[in-house]
């Protein structure tokens, strides 16, 4: 047994998991708070990466790229929610799946028409270049930084949603919109806010992930699938669940790769199946809550 490799893969699982958690978070927010099954989540991720790419190419600033990724997707989120999604909150999940799935196809094809199908090179920001020698392994700096960025972002969103007045209104608006309306608060705005926050996080993570993975119009598709796996493992609509689910998924992929790389993905789905059988609401999910 190569202990160095095991420790290296454990660390890698954490890095993989923190990205997965970040991406899955937006899905959990819209799903948990709005009860909306959003198949266009991967598209927000992809659009964020492209917005970041265009900005980075022009300004050479990764901070501006991050901002652009978040803001462009914020704008896109507002348009999509006002024009389309708000009509589907009260419709059955299958309608939501169909409309968001269709929306995803349209947006992917628009991006393909503008940028073409080929992979775009998103340069590593200067501070992310190089690798750190941890003694037992050499690990890319950027992936270590991503763990920190993800932790900060997740904490910030947690604080906004669970520790601020705005968060309180949002959650109250979703639990009992009638009472909140009577109190003089516009519930439609809180729904919009939640949807847009979810989208923004996806756009933001698209930029974060872009220097690691290849930027192409289809990059959101695999992310969407993995996010759903994470959400199912962690628990539908659970904030803690998306973090735990992300890290568990990351570790499963990494650890399996040591012995049987071709079974890494299989193990991930096996874990999901086990959770669905033994604890259908997910590790941190609450029964009966969407």
């Amino acid at each position: 047994m190569n202990w160095h490799l095991l420790i290296a893969q454990l660390l890698n699982g954490l890095a993989l998991g923190s990205i997965l958690a970040l991406v899955a978070l937006g899905l959990t927010i819209t799903f948990g708070l709005l009860g909306l099954v959003n198949f266009a989540h991967g598209v927000f991720f992809m659009v964020g990466a492209y917005a970041g790419l265009v900005t980075f190419e022009r300004t050479n600033s990764f901070a501006l790229a991050l901002l652009a990724g978040a803001l462009v997707v914020l704008a896109l989120g507002i348009v999509v929610e006002r024009v389309l999604i708000r009509l589907f909150y009260r419709r059955p999940p299958e309608d939501q799946i169909l409309v968001t799935f269709g929306l995803a196809i349209v947006i992917v094809e628009i991006v393909r028409a503008i940028f073409g199908g080929k992979t775009q090179l998103f340069p590593m920001p200067p501070w992310g270049m190089g690798a750190t020698n941890l003694g037992f392994l050499v690990y890319p700096n950027y992936r270590l930084q991503v763990i920190v960025i993800a932790a900060i972002t997740l904490t910030a969103i947690y604080l906004v949603l669970y520790k601020t007045r705005l968060g309180l209104i949002v959650r109250a608006g979703i639990d009992d919109s009638l009472i909140v309306n009577i109190l003089g608060i516009d519930v439609t705005k809180t729904l919009l806010a939640v949807f847009v926050i979810g989208a923004m996080v996806a756009g933001f993570s698209g930029v974060i992930d872009a220097p690691i993975v290849a930027v192409d119009p289809d990059m959101g598709a695999s992310v969407l699938v993995e996010s759903f796996v994470v959400v199912v493992i962690g628990g539908l609509g659970s904030f803690t669940g998306s973090i735990a689910g992300g890290i568990i998924a990351g570790e499963i992929i990494s650890i399996t790769t040591i012995w049987a790389p071709d079974y890494a993905q299989v193990m991930l789905y096996l874990a999901m199946a086990l959770v669905l059988i033994l604890r259908p609401q997910g590790l941190f999910g609450t029964e009966g809550r969407l």
């Binding site: 490799l5 090179l121 119009p217 990494s254 790769t257």
Partner: protein, 459 residues
């Protein structure tokens, strides 16, 4: 039959007679070869596949399948550009059409070529579905395309069943012209075996005989057969195979595989990944510092891999491609230089300065080869077209004179071996490679039957 009908019929036949006279007059003015062709086509063949339904009008339809979405979509886009340009030249003249004596630039056997494009999503099921529609609904007389061996093999099987000629797009697996070979399928790209055999002597000369190699392999027929062939030929030059890691197509994060590779103790990293997967895995390998200790080899370099990873990383990388635009006007390779230049210029003009990649070359050359075979057969009747393609007749296109091997439908053609240029040595932004050599096809091809090809029947 009553009299009224009789009158109608005689009026009809008078009409036909007049048309026939006009046609005969036209034929006479076109000249002798056309008369021979007309005589040949007059020979009647039974209905088979989409023949003659697909060519009963004044058009012949080509069903193009390509990866418009999915991991290999950049290569798929280039492939489609090649088909479109070939069809344009076959219908209206230009490019290499003027260099092939049988081709008129006025369609094929007088039929204007039309086409439709279907998206395979780099998956067999959507590809087969699109091709089936082309065959059943549009009566496609030929189908072609795709950039994944798994998809190409599925399409060739469909072609065999439906009796419609299929020209494979990019496909490197040994199985395509090996155990999965089809009478109705043809492949011009070098097989995995050819790539590996062409590459090995260069690797021996440049990197020595004591190397230890680790492989990253896409988990399907292309990846596994290319791995097998690379392992075989590198071990023959004295290399050791340390390990290989299979990853599913469409993997976005390769970090866990790359950690294994970084820990493998190898000094050569053979990356068999293709398309977007090649880009993602290579970018990430650089981030893990793998290239500080390992030399990279990419046995079959995807069309847009250098654009995706950047010239810095590609510098010094050894590999092969089906064709490289640097052959155009290249004095070191006189057989390929002139025709490659004609193709390159036509492509640059058509696509406003975008350089063709090897996938476009496959599409272009193979479509012309098929058109030439149809003209020489004098009919679209599939068995006759196939027998003409199997005849060993050489056609002189971008790579010089090439022909399909009758026994397995693998094209015998030279294999360009490439080495990535340093960014400072690049003449323009598409000038990624120097051509280290062109290994003659006869030297590179596997012995017939090595990969278990038994061609099924014609009908």
């Amino acid at each position: 039959m009553d009299t009224r009908n009789g009158t109608k019929e005689s009026a009809l036949s008078r009409n036909l007679f007049l048309k026939g006279t006009a046609a005969a007059a036209a034929t006479a003015t076109v000249g002798f070869p056309a008369i021979v062709r007309a005589a040949k086509s007059a020979k009647s063949y039974p209905a088979l596949g989409t023949f003659p339904a697909g060519v009963s009008g004044d058009t012949a339809m080509i069903g193009i399948i390509s990866d418009l979405t999915g991991s290999y979509s950049a290569d798929g886009e280039d492939l489609v550009k090649g088909y479109k340009l070939a069809i344009k030249h076959l219908n209206g003249g230009g490019g290499l059409v003027s260099k092939v004596p049988t081709l008129s630039g006025k369609g094929v056997l007088g039929k204007r070529l039309v086409y439709k494009i279907g998206d395979s999503e780099t998956k067999a099921n959507p590809a087969v579905q699109a091709a089936t529609e082309f065959i059943e609904r549009d009566k496609a007389i030929m189908i072609c395309g795709d950039t994944s061996s798994a998809v190409v093999i599925a399409l060739a099987k469909l072609a065999q069943r439906e009796k419609v000629v299929f020209l494979s797009g990019a496909s490197g697996s040994n199985d395509t012209t090996g155990k999965d070979c089809q009478r109705y399928g043809f492949r011009s790209q070098p097989s995995a075996y050819m790539d590996a055999k062409a590459l090995a002597p260069v690797l021996k000369k440049e990197l020595g005989t004591k190397r230890r190699a680790v492989y990253l392999v896409p988990d399907y027929t292309y990846g596994t057969t290319l791995y097998d062939s690379m392992k075989e030929f590198t071990e023959k030059i004295g290399w050791t195979t340390v390990n290989h890691y299979l990853a599913p197509v469409g993997t976005t994060d390769y970090s866990s595989y790359l950690l294994n590779i970084a820990n493998s103790g190898a000094d050569v990293f053979v990356n068999i990944e293709f398309g977007n997967d090649a880009v993602a895995s290579t970018k990430q390998a650089a981030q893990f510092g793998i290239f500080k200790t390992m030399q990279m080899i990419v046995p079959n370099i995807s069309s847009y891999m250098p654009d995706g990873v950047g010239a810095e990383i590609m510098a010094g990388v050894y590999g092969t491609q089906d064709w490289y635009w640097g052959l155009a006007g290249n004095k070191a390779y006189p057989e390929a230089a002139a025709n490659s230049k004609i193709f390159l210029d036509a492509f640059l003009k058509e696509y406003h300065g975008i350089y063709p990649r090897w996938t476009a070359h496959i599409a272009y050359d193979q479509t012309l080869t098929w058109a030439d075979a149809v003209e020489r057969a004098g009919t679209f009747y599939p068995p006759e077209v196939i027998k003409t393609l199997e005849s060993g007749h050489k056609i002189d296109l971008c790579l010089g004179p090439v022909a399909y091997r009758a026994g397995d439908h693998q094209q015998i053609r030279p294999v360009p071996v490439l080495k990535g240029k340093k960014p400072s040595a690049m003449a323009n932004k598409d000038d990624y490679f120097e051509i280290v050599g062109m290994v003659p096809g006869a030297e590179a091809v596997p012995p017939l039957g090595l990969f278990g090809c038994h061609l099924p029947g014609y009908t």
